[in-house]
């Protein structure tokens, strides 16, 4: 019975991914990470230089899921009201004044928050609150956001003029951090073909809301053995330089390691991976496969790490090499 369920998850996931890939060239890992976020109920942070198609990826995904999609371009003068909405004073026929709430773009299912590092901290926090609570409070009134609600935020590290990089506490709220890389020669040629010829592909709706919710429940329902749970904890502990199990690179380049949210990401991400593989329990290998997107934004580098432009991916690679699967 459960075997049949797992098969269904894989089929749905794959169908969805393939539909997106009909439009997007390359970036398979980013697409998979994005889908994993969706089914884990978490929010995604994408690091990407401009022009690589992040808007297109998220838009295509929303079309394939028949979900509402909004995009907010973050700028230094963006106000919180531009995100959540405002109350407008209206006057009815008898002259009495009342407030009418005009919804901001956050009232959607998939929200693309583009270049989130360009907005002021106040505006960033308005978004992050909505992300956390799945609700916004304006003028004392709390309004719930419709499920499913997922935020895909992007950061552009090349253009750092006038930016406010998200502080670590806020970065931590993102489930996965994905990296979009530039296409290689063959991918670039394919992109050229798709964007300059008459062929225009219309995205088909592959899953509906209920199916998405069902898949989310399935993902949560996967078992994790206590030993594997501890493996996740051990990985996270090894990222802390003061802990005894810290590796050399961690001790040298990391000021502060991952928060407990890192274990959540490893575990739930691992669950989705296990399901995709048709298994009912999470294995250590599943966790390793999601280690980088789970942890690369949760490591705070120290001065030397920043000065030498150390890539957190290298640190994570060393950690998962060294942490044993079993043991205390």
């Amino acid at each position: 019975m459960s075997g049949k369920q797992n098969g269904r998850f894989t089929v749905r996931f794959t169908t969805l991914r393939e539909e997106v890939e009909r439009v997007i060239v390359g970036c398979r890992d980013v697409i998979e990470e994005l889908l994993t976020c969706l089914f884990s109920g978490g929010n995604a942070l994408i690091e990407s230089p401009p022009g690589l198609g992040k808007t297109l990826i998220v838009k295509t995904l929303s079309e394939a899921l028949d979900l509402q999609f909004s995009r907010i371009q973050f700028t230094p003068d963006l106000m919180p009201a531009d995100i959540v909405g405002t109350n407008i004073i209206m006057q009815d026929d008898v002259g009495k004044r009342y407030f009418q709430f005009q919804r901001g773009p956050v009232f959607t299912n998939i929200l693309l928050a583009d270049e989130i590092n360009r907005a002021t901290p106040k505006t960033q926090s308005a978004l992050l609150e909505a992300m956390q609570e799945h609700a916004v409070t304006v003028g004392g009134v709390r309004r719930e956001l419709e499920e499913p609600f997922i935020v895909v935020a992007t950061e552009n590290h090349l253009e750092t003029e006038g930016t406010y990089s998200l502080p670590e506490a806020q970065l931590d709220r993102f489930f996965f951090n994905s990296r979009l890389r530039s296409p290689d020669l063959d991918e670039l040629r394919e992109i050229g073909r798709r964007t300059t010829t008459t062929s225009r592909y219309t995205v088909e709706k592959k899953l509906n809301r209920d199916e998405v919710e069902e898949m989310k429940r399935e993902a949560r329902g996967v078992d994790v053995a206590p030993a594997v749970r501890r493996y996740a904890s051990r990985i996270v502990l090894a990222t802390h330089p003061t802990h005894e199990t810290a590796t050399d690179r961690v001790k040298r380049f990391v000021r502060y390691g991952s928060s407990p949210r890192g274990t959540q990401a490893l575990t739930i991400g691992g669950k989705v991976r296990a399901l995709l593989d048709g298994r009912k329990t999470v294995s250590a290998a599943d966790m390793r496969s999601v280690a980088k997107p789970s942890l690369r934004h949760r490591l705070i580098l120290n001065f030397e790490g920043e000065a030498e432009n150390v890539d957190p991916d290298d640190i994570i690679a060393e950690v998962i090499d060294h942490v044993p699967e079993s043991g205390a």
Partner: protein, 338 residues
């Protein structure tokens, strides 16, 4: 027999594309003195579904150019002067409270200047980033979303934005992500002596010559469709892609000059620009397919704003045009077997 007529049909289509384009260019030149390549590039951008960023000092006829373009195509034209206090609503439009006869109050959307065909966004670098972003989003999507409702813009929709290079105080230079959305960036220089003379003659003596309508909306849409249909041989595609990759200092195709002076290279949008503009160039030359030479000719306006210089390049005053020329020289044109 049927095939023959199809072929001559194609020939006719290409010929009429050329003729219309040339007529458009000539008609605009009746009014605008000089700037032939600016005019041609603007028309090329129009045919490629792209938008143009012009950099030039005031008073050289940018408004005249867009207005004339609207006249010869019988398209609506609006001009917006961007200022520091311009709000997105001033461009996109606002919801106004309206009262009907029964006294019921409803929201009515009043359209902003963006609801037009040709929009001249003057001194776009004066506006606040939020306002810039609002315009550029409309430019990309060809639609406007206000208060949750999406309004689609009429085709053909074309934005010509200008940047003032000298008065840079109190301006917000466009960030790379926004610059990338323009297919071309054209540097409009100051007119020469003869041209200035001619401008004096035309503007202080004679009446402005009336311009004829050269093409209509359907013609433009047909021409745009034809551009998309122009085929590209794999070796030209490959050459264009390698040229784009060569702009990135971390790529295997990068030249030494790129590695030394470039911080970041072009995004895939650059390739899109190269290919579409190349297709237009091929048609204008009376050919049916894109050649490597077409790519070379469109490289400068397409890429000069997509290559970010590093501090060393700025210190040594190495222009992106120089880097592009270097790339074109060093990237080989090869033809592999299939």
């Amino acid at each position: 027999m049927g095939k023959r007529s199809e072929e001559t049909n194609t020939e006719k289509l290409v010929q009429s594309f050329r003729d219309t384009f040339v007529r458009m260019s000539d008609e605009i030149s009746k009014v605008i003195v000089g700037y032939k390549d600016v005019i041609d590039n603007v028309l090329t951008a129009l045919m490629s579904r792209g938008n143009v960023l012009l950099e030039g000092v005031p008073g050289i006829g940018k408004t005249m150019l867009v207005r004339t373009l609207g006249e010869i195509l019988d398209l609506k034209f609006r001009r917006v002067q961007f200022t520091a206090d311009l709000m997105p609503a001033d461009i996109l439009g606002t919801n106004m409270i309206a009262q009907d006869e029964a006294g019921n109050r409803t929201f009515r959307f009043e359209r902003g200047p963006v609801f037009t065909h040709l929009l001249l966004a003057d001194e776009i670098n004066r506006a606040t980033p939020k306002t810039q972003a609002a315009l550029l989003e409309a430019m990309e999507e060809h639609s406007v979303t206000v208060a949750g409702t999406k309004y689609v813009l009429d085709e053909p929709f074309f934005v010509l934005a200008t940047e003032n290079p000298i008065e840079m105080e109190g301006t917000y230079p466009l960030p790379q992500a926004e610059l990338d959305k323009f297919i071309f960036k054209l540097d409009v220089g100051f007119p020469g002596l003869d041209e200035l003379d001619e401008i004096i003659v035309r503007t202080t003596y004679e009446e402005m010559p009336p311009v004829d309508v050269v093409a209509k909306t359907e013609d433009i849409l047909e021409m745009r469709k034809l551009v998309l249909e122009v085929p590209i041989a794999p070796h030209v595609e490959d050459y264009a892609a390698r040229t784009i990759l060569a702009t990135s200092p971390t790529s295997e195709f990068a030249t030494d000059m790129v590695r030394q002076y470039v911080k970041a290279g072009s995004s895939p949008r650059g390739l899109q620009g190269l290919l579409l503009a190349g297709k237009v160039k091929a048609l204008l030359d009376g050919r049916y397919a894109v050649s490597c030479e077409d790519i070379n000719e469109t490289a400068h306006p397409t890429l000069r704003h997509r290559i970010q210089r590093n501090l060393e390049a700025e210190a040594e005053e190495i222009s992106t045009d120089a880097v592009i020329s270097d790339i074109l020289e060093k990237t080989p044109q090869t033809a592999e077997a299939v």
